[in-house]
């Protein structure tokens, strides 16, 4: 079934077309939800809510952009709304202020599996994780993130900086990326 046929079927509320669309995009979208969620159950709740929105708002899709991107935006917004219902999330993005941290540039070896990276991201505090997901992976600007999360733009920037540093530390601890050069140098000097 072509994407156009799926779209037309969904517009007519045909269950077969809806199922086809769901089968095609739900694995990727669940992974997106999983990066934002506390656990898999929450991720499935987000996915469910997101797909209902996708089907109900199908008529607003303009064929100009990529369909997957459109679905993904709806899913991400659903995840954010889901998280914002949680008071702990609101506190965590607002209160935590990152200090000025020098961010290192590290490469992620190709041998590292996607699941390992995502598991590391999920170890971050929810506020950091959300900003990192939105900025580094979903490609939103800090201004947009600030609007989405109802925080200051500067908070988004500092959260991201801190999140990235923490993620790198986790990746290093898990031997998924090599230790930082400075660190290595320092260790060498001590010895």
């Amino acid at each position: 079934m072509t994407e156009e046929a799926i779209l037309q079927g969904c517009l007519k509320n045909h269950a077969a077309a809806q199922k086809e669309l769901y089968n095609r995009y739900s694995p990727k979208m669940l992974a997106v939800c999983y990066r934002f969620a506390h656990n898999r159950e929450d991720a499935e709740d987000m996915l469910q809510e997101g797909f209902i929105k996708v089907f109900l708002q199908m008529h607003t899709f303009q064929s100009k952009g990529a369909f997957e991107g459109w679905i993904r935006r709806i899913i991400v917004h659903t995840c954010i709304n889901h998280l914002k219902k949680n008071k702990r999330f609101n506190d965590s993005v607002d209160i935590i202020q990152a200090s000025s941290i020098q961010v290192r540039e590290e490469n992620i070896p190709s041998i590292v599996q996607a699941k390992q990276i995502v598991d590391c991201i999920r170890l971050l505090p929810v506020g950091y994780r959300t900003v990192l997901n939105l900025y580094a992976i979903e490609g939103y600007a800090h201004k947009e993130i600030a609007e989405m999360l109802d925080i200051e733009e500067s908070t988004s920037r500092s959260q991201y900086t801190r999140a990235r540093q923490m993620l790198e530390e986790i990746l290093i601890k898990r031997n998924l990326i090599p230790a930082a050069r400075e660190k290595t140098d320092r260790l060498t000097a001590i010895h």
Binding site: N13, A15, Y34, N107, V118, A136
Partner: protein, 456 residues
């Protein structure tokens, strides 16, 4: 959207690349929930409407099939008490006629003669102590009783209430048999009045006044003639020329000049519950199902891509529908008649007014506003260049508002009132969404045939 080249940063680029590789397969529960939320809501709506229609039909059917079920003997207890001898002069009056029984009890519940005493089966006033010689307060009470009953809006309680009749007992008449009734009539005109007031036939007449119930139901069917009117300029023509459109479309864009549609028959069925708020005015609400259609004359052509542009009022393109055209609107050989069918459920809410007539024959006018829901979206819409018809669910507006008006004559046959008269319904909003450049408004004329009955 982006304030930077987000993937210019190698780390972020790699992070995105890696995370996008992850795929996770949701449990079946997720799809089941999505499916049920998309389809069960609609099913619930249809089930609810069916339940409502079913309820009205069952109620109507019950009233039609078993109209006399409620005509069991009614009991009115009339007490005739002598104020000076409230307990001792207690008498029992028991009569039965035409399925109607009136029973008079004394205060201490003496019913010794009811089932077989010496004066049993005496139709009226078989043992009574009635005063004569003066016009008592009792007389006034009795005389005014029917009025009081009629003026009482709570008739149902009156039907079952005890009617206390106080009679002065300056003189006592002892009536021990049927023949004595005549004697009593001669002796005391007041007694005649009492007898008349307690006479079963008269009582029934009075009760028919009493049972001016406020609620009634009606069901109806109406064969209708369906017209539709297309209006609105094609905004797209003002923005850019349509390559495939005839030159007239580009310059004049008068859609009615480019379609060949003819009216067709449809029908409408429904039911209402009416609540009388005054002598002549009732409020009504109910459920209505209508099937409307009209014919489209079109010409077969090779399948091609036709589009119906959904434009905003400001001219920019909001969305475009693209579909295979089913019929070509331009003149060609082999004309075909397609049908546009609309199935709608409506909830009429309005007013019904009796403008003239008597109990038997009445003239009514009514008006309703009807929120309606379009059940199907598989009708044809005209493409943006008026050259083709396409089927696109996206163009249709599900919820609409219909205005209805009717004039009818109602004629009472027994407890049922038959109704017949013309009606008109106009769909206030366009069949299509606002973003579609054309507006289609349906206008249906019909003859409404129905029955109505008071709810007891």
């Amino acid at each position: 959207m982006k304030e930077r080249n987000i993937y210019g940063d190698e780390f972020e680029e790699q992070l995105k690349e890696k995370t996008d590789q992850l795929k996770m397969y949701p449990s079946d529960k997720v799809w089941n929930e999505v499916y049920s939320s998309l389809h069960v809501r609609r099913r619930k709506f249809i089930a609810g409407m069916t339940f409502l229609i079913g309820g009205i039909l069952i109620l109507a059917g019950t009233q039609l099939i078993f109209p006399s079920r409620n005509t069991n003997p009614k009991t009115i207890t009339a007490k005739i008490n002598n104020p000076s001898k409230p307990a001792a002069a207690a008498d029992l009056h028991n009569f039965t006629a035409s399925g109607f029984a009136t029973e008079t009890r004394d205060n201490d519940g003496d019913q010794q003669n009811r089932d077989g005493g010496p004066n049993a089966n005496v139709p009226f006033l078989h043992r009574s102590s009635i005063s004569s010689g003066q016009k008592s307060g009792t007389d006034e009470y009795i005389e005014s009783l029917p009025e009081k009953i009629q003026n009482n809006g709570r008739e149902k309680t009156v039907q079952q209430a005890s009617i206390n009749v106080a009679v002065h007992a300056d003189a006592t008449l002892s009536m021990t048999g049927l023949n004595e009734e005549e004697e009593s009539s001669e002796i005391n005109p007041a007694l005649n009045r009492i007898s008349a007031d307690l006479d079963p036939e008269k009582s029934l007449t009075q009760l028919s006044h009493i049972r001016n119930d406020r609620f009634s139901w009606e069901i109806y069917i109406a064969p209708t003639l369906n017209n539709h009117y297309l209006t609105g300029m094609n905004y797209q023509t003002a923005v850019r020329p349509i390559q495939t459109a005839p030159i007239m479309v580009v310059h004049f864009a008068n859609v009615n000049g480019f379609v060949d549609n003819t009216q067709a028959m449809g029908y409408e069925v429904g039911g209402n519950i009416l609540y009388r708020i005054s002598k002549n005015i009732s409020l009504k609400a109910g459920l209505d199902f209508s099937f409307n259609r009209y014919y489209i004359k079109a010409y077969n052509s090779n399948q091609s891509q036709a589009s119906a542009t959904l434009s905003s009022y400001f001219g920019y393109i909001a969305d475009t529908l693209a579909n295979s055209n089913s019929g070509n609107n331009l003149v060609n050989k082999n004309p075909q008649h397609y049908q546009n069918r609309y199935y709608q459920l409506s909830l009429p809410v309005g007013v019904d007014m009796k403008v003239a007539g008597n109990k038997k024959l009445q003239l009514h006018v009514g008006a309703t506003l009807q929120p309606s829901y379009l059940l199907n979206t598989d009708a044809y819409v005209l493409s943006e260049d008026y050259s083709s018809y396409v089927k696109d669910a996206q163009a249709f507006r599900r919820w609409n508002l219909i205005g209805g008006a009717e004039v009818y004559v109602s004629y009472a046959v027994g407890k049922i009132r038959w109704e017949i008269g013309p009606q008109v319904r106009y769909q206030i909003f366009s069949t299509y969404r606002n973003s579609y450049p054309l507006q289609e408004n349906m206008l249906n004329y019909g003859i409404r045939i129905g029955i109505s009955k008071s709810i007891r």
